[in-house]
Symmetry: C2
Subunit: 352 residues, 2 copies
Amino acid sequence: MGRGVTMSTVAEKAGVSTKTVSNVVNGTGSYSPETEQRVRAAIEELGYHINPFARGLRSRRTDTIALVLPNLYQPFYAEFAEQVIRSPETQGLKVVLESTRGDAGRERAVLSSHRELVDGVIYVPHALGPEQYLPLPFARPTVVLGERPAEAAQLGLDYVETADEQGAHAVVGHLLAQGRRRIAVIGERPGPWAGARRLRGYRTALAEAGVDYDESLVIGVDDADLWSSGVAGATRLLRTRVRFDALFCFHDVVAVGALSVLARSGIAVPDDVALAGFDDIEAARFASPPLTTVDLGRESIARTAVALLRSRMDREDSRELPGRRESTGFDLRVRASSTTTPAPTESGVTAR
Amino acid sequence: MGRGVTMSTVAEKAGVSTKTVSNVVNGTGSYSPETEQRVRAAIEELGYHINPFARGLRSRRTDTIALVLPNLYQPFYAEFAEQVIRSPETQGLKVVLESTRGDAGRERAVLSSHRELVDGVIYVPHALGPEQYLPLPFARPTVVLGERPAEAAQLGLDYVETADEQGAHAVVGHLLAQGRRRIAVIGERPGPWAGARRLRGYRTALAEAGVDYDESLVIGVDDADLWSSGVAGATRLLRTRVRFDALFCFHDVVAVGALSVLARSGIAVPDDVALAGFDDIEAARFASPPLTTVDLGRESIARTAVALLRSRMDREDSRELPGRRESTGFDLRVRASSTTTPAPTESGVTAR
DNA sequence: CAGCGCATTGACATCGTTGAACTAGCGGTG
DNA sequence: CACCGCTAGTTCAACGATGTCAATGCGCTG
């Protein structure tokens, strides 16, 4: 069963040459329907599986893509990875996960090591900013998640731009609409990361509502997306004794961490403080109270990313194509953590 | 840079044969220190990377292992996957993740497809029981997580047995020690899965304390480890109006879901009902109140599994070796969700 | 000093597949 | 009827590494 069954075994059984078997398997060349039948029957009967190494060696196709992300601990990344694996666009491809552990050195190393192994890379930057990763030698078609810097276009890098700014704008708009004016945020981290875009959305929403930006309401954290950052951030916020009636965390995990601090401190959510997160991880829906948040659409991000990759993987001249940019939308999920009026069980405001 | 650099490029530059380069790269054969120097220098200078396809074709080694698990949505699996990737034992290996989506067909398909691609497989069964997966043609060394059925020994399958029963026993013992007598459980699912072992621990703990097993306290769910199962389970439990003073969920995610139902129903945790979960996912620590749970030791499970694999991957005769069995321990993490007396911030009871 | 063993290195075939180039046959065309 | 274009299929080499085996040279033994 399958032991030592090669194309020539199949070819012999079907009475054709190995090349014809190869053609049938790959849908290349031309062959009659009867030949195809015979070959397929032989394959079936012998339990033949193509040897991916021989194929990879000869044709340079690996049918594998790499997904480079900081870690799998954060539900957002794990759920995103799952979406990439499941995406219909991924059919027929293997996905190799590379966790960089949020470490700049590992991130660099992982990106540089993808020379021959995979047909393409989906890269979720974390520790490296554009000025650090752009100079790296991308040897394979690469799709980057995040905001596209101008230089990326000539480098041939494709981008999936997520609606961080718009999403944050929508959340803050919602909080303002609820009558909140002193909206604290936790999760700011200097640099080119998602947090910066979310902060931008926060600021523009405030500005549009004529609410002054108050720096003392903005809490920075080192690791923008850890529960413990939420605990630390909320603790610091409370300790400053600054008045606030809403708290917007740049990640749901941070919000969950913050929520535990608020609960311990006897601060009622949403009555004293309206709480909102970002990412719409599963846990947000089951927090007490359920968390208002923004869904960036992991599924459509994943599908878009894989589709971009595929379109490059198949063509020879992909290196010459200029980098493309796709944007995805978001859904604001209003839940009980931010609504004092009895909340609708689940209300969605959709964009784009 | 790296374009078309092969062993013969290196060999030429170093003034040796390709075989010698191969020897240096693999540490096989013998060569003088000076030769090694020259070869390494040439490799460095040319930026040479070995072609994994050529190597895989010739030597049948892939330096890749597959991790087959139901999904990445469940934090326990995601965190476990991360541990497998990070484990020091994994150094030098690539890890391919295969998500079976908790689907029996996919699970079968994925397991059967690992003929040539990887050197070994770590398999976390979910939809298939032993009677279903044991007959499958395991073509590569395989380590299975869970309880080892007797037949597995001759098949040469290695097992990492996790302390589900002992862990559950400890949790329930703890709840009993807190004076709870009516301990409900959510998560039972018929079959050979972890839930069955946890249920066993529950029953023996009850028996040892002389508390009768009451079937009306045992709530089964379809998908044992989804938040929504917790919601559904808790809702059903409340609807039966059966009296209970503690709730033990077989997974933390279920407990978090149940917690949200209890909160909505005005049931105080831990005052009215002591709550405990299982798995010790990150979110458990940050629930309100923090969740008492059992840590099975993802890290040591991962390391043990990879170590078992490696020990087989390296040897030729691995097929002949009988299946081995390794057991791992657990940590009971007592937190505020189950302790009425002011809880210690974090208390750990360690086993094995 | 013949002969042996060992360390070091190389030549060559080979793993299984596919790209390039080629042949055979057949119907149609000017 | 010579020739063209097209389909169906073949032959052969090559992808880049490594296993096998042989060759070389050196020190040592008897």
